[in-house]
Subunit: 336 residues, 2 copies
């Protein structure tokens, strides 16, 4: 790929200018641009700038209302429900995790349920947001149906990404996992290279496991992690999102025809408020050190979730964020 390395700040500025041209207020455009750029900064190229123009299409189609801010629906101590009002997904999510963090400062735990929101792009951002505030962050979202339930032969459940983020001085642990074994984006890339997936990635039209991306891209029967287990986990994440927020479950998102009006949950736990700091770092280090002391099949060191993101971030901060030349030109043209 013909990549440029764009300094992070320059990338943010470019995206921000485009968003302002689309009518987004300056400070919101800046935050939104940072959230897009941060995905690329951390090496999650599938959920950052590569989705920016799709996001702009959603604005143009009026599926994403670019100036709407979340509205409080109900509150009771640690728990609040908010209406995302079909606003900007990543801004809504950042707001919601921020509000969960505020509640956890006061109560030890904070939980925000958000309805009528839109795609938050890179899920992990909101886990990093929590750990950078010194908090444990847990969040999940529902999605449009893009996997079959176990035994089923049509898409009925979402891949419902789940984030669990745990602060640690030497590098936080940030798990960011969708319930599908492989993202459709990764399968598209494999298909374009005429490659098979390295492990079973979905079902063929007879219900047998397959590694063939073309088959799965056609029938939309991506594999849930752990077969029946991930199918069940996806279902309960969807239920929790919809029931706590009072918003749409995956079946209702499907009725929208496009992936809008999602339901999400954000939880923050403040270890300081809960008096856990006495042992947090030492225990976390012991766990990670024990994991990394594991013998391995290929002689490489076992890695923990979030470890690569931090390395990639540091490298990209130094060398610039890799962006394809054509995409960067498109951004610059759009910003003119």
């Amino acid at each position: 790929m013909d990549d440029l390395n764009i300094p992070f700040e320059q990338l943010v500025d470019g995206l921000q200018k485009v968003l302002e041209k689309y009518g987004m207020e300056e400070s919101r455009a800046r935050r939104c641009a940072i959230l897009f750029a941060q995905a690329d900064l951390d090496g999650v190229y599938s959920h950052g700038v590569n989705r920016f123009f799709t996001f702009l299409d959603y604005i143009t189609n009026d599926w994403v209302k670019l100036d709407r801010e979340p509205e409080l629906l109900s509150q009771l101590g640690v728990f609040e429900r908010w209406d995302g009002r079909f606003g900007v997904g990543n801004l809504n999510a950042e707001f919601a995790m921020g509000r969960a963090i505020e509640l956890s400062r006061e109560f030890g735990i904070g939980c925000i349920a958000l309805k009528n929101t839109n795609h938050w792009m890179r899920a992990g951002n909101f886990g990093w947001q929590a750990v950078e505030a010194g908090c444990i962050g847990i969040c999940f979202t529902n999605t449009i149906a893009n996997m079959a339930a176990w035994g089923g032969s049509e898409p009925k459940i979402g891949n419902n990404p789940l984030v669990v983020a745990i602060p640690r001085k030497e590098g936080p642990v940030v798990l960011d996992m969708a319930m599908s074994q492989f993202a459709y984006g990764k399968m598209s890339i494999a298909e374009s290279k005429n490659e098979q997936m390295p492990f079973a990635a979905g079902f063929d039209d007879k219900g047998k496991l397959t590694t063939d991306p073309s088959t799965i891209l056609k029938n939309r029967l991506a594999l849930p992690v752990g077969l029946w287990k991930g199918s069940g986990l996806s279902l309960v994440l969807d239920m929790l999102s919809a029931l706590l927020s009072g918003g749409n479950a995956t079946n209702k998102v499907n009725d929208m025809g496009t992936e809008i009006g999602l339901s999400q949950v954000f939880i923050s736990i403040d270890p300081d408020k809960l008096a856990l700091l006495e042992w947090m770092d030492q225990k976390a280090d012991e766990i990670i050190n024990d994991l990394k002391s594991s013998t391995s099949f290929d002689g490489k060191t076992v890695r923990y979730p979030g470890e690569s993101s931090l390395e990639t971030r540091n490298r990209n901060l130094k060398n610039g964020v890799p962006i394809s030349k054509s995409l960067w030109e498109k951004i610059q043209n759009e910003a003119k």
Copy 2:
């Protein structure tokens, strides 16, 4: 198998008598017996009466202290930490979920972190406990290391069961999943029948996926659900358990030499207190009905987690709980 069908109450009485003979106080012996019998009642034969004599060995070895009740360590509104004092695992867990439910009645959400506890046997019991109280229940535990972390070639992470239970009038949704694709107990059964597992179940000694139970029973390299994803999820569940409770992580449980001194987390959400009842049942029904309307590969109806348990429970309540003749005789002899 030469099975008897023992009425539930008779099974409970038999187990209770044995526990009392071992020195357990009457009301605790009754609760403990019910929790064992309930696993079998719901068809989870791997984590019920079949483990009863192993549990008695733990008492005899003084690994499980049969008269110790949990002790409060700290409390702050929705969050409490308790010390399980190496007491009876299922009684400690039932107490902790009960306490989480009490907190959720007051605050909407309750969270109990429990350290120094022991194996809770069937995880799902504590999810059913929550939904029977009308609450959403979430709980998880760490375990001894029984899977390799992704890329690793030795057991370093636990299969850390996770329960998510959601009340619903027509039948609650109760997900009870360990992070291993198959339980070692199921692999032992397959090995004894000289059968292969139906899907990849672990790694062979070269790190390739295998369906051979004998290989995995020897090298203890069971497959995490979703490969690297379940490996990551197992790690963060262990971290949350140990960091919130201040107790042992899996690496420390390993140092004990036997699976004792675990850390667990119990969360209850009271939909009534949080004013979610207005839509709970309707939305839950819509989600489940949509799931069950799915086309399927084998013509059968797609099922949701917990659906089979309830059917089995109703059948076993009517016909008696299936117990092998030899095991029932052993219980009766022990009770004399």
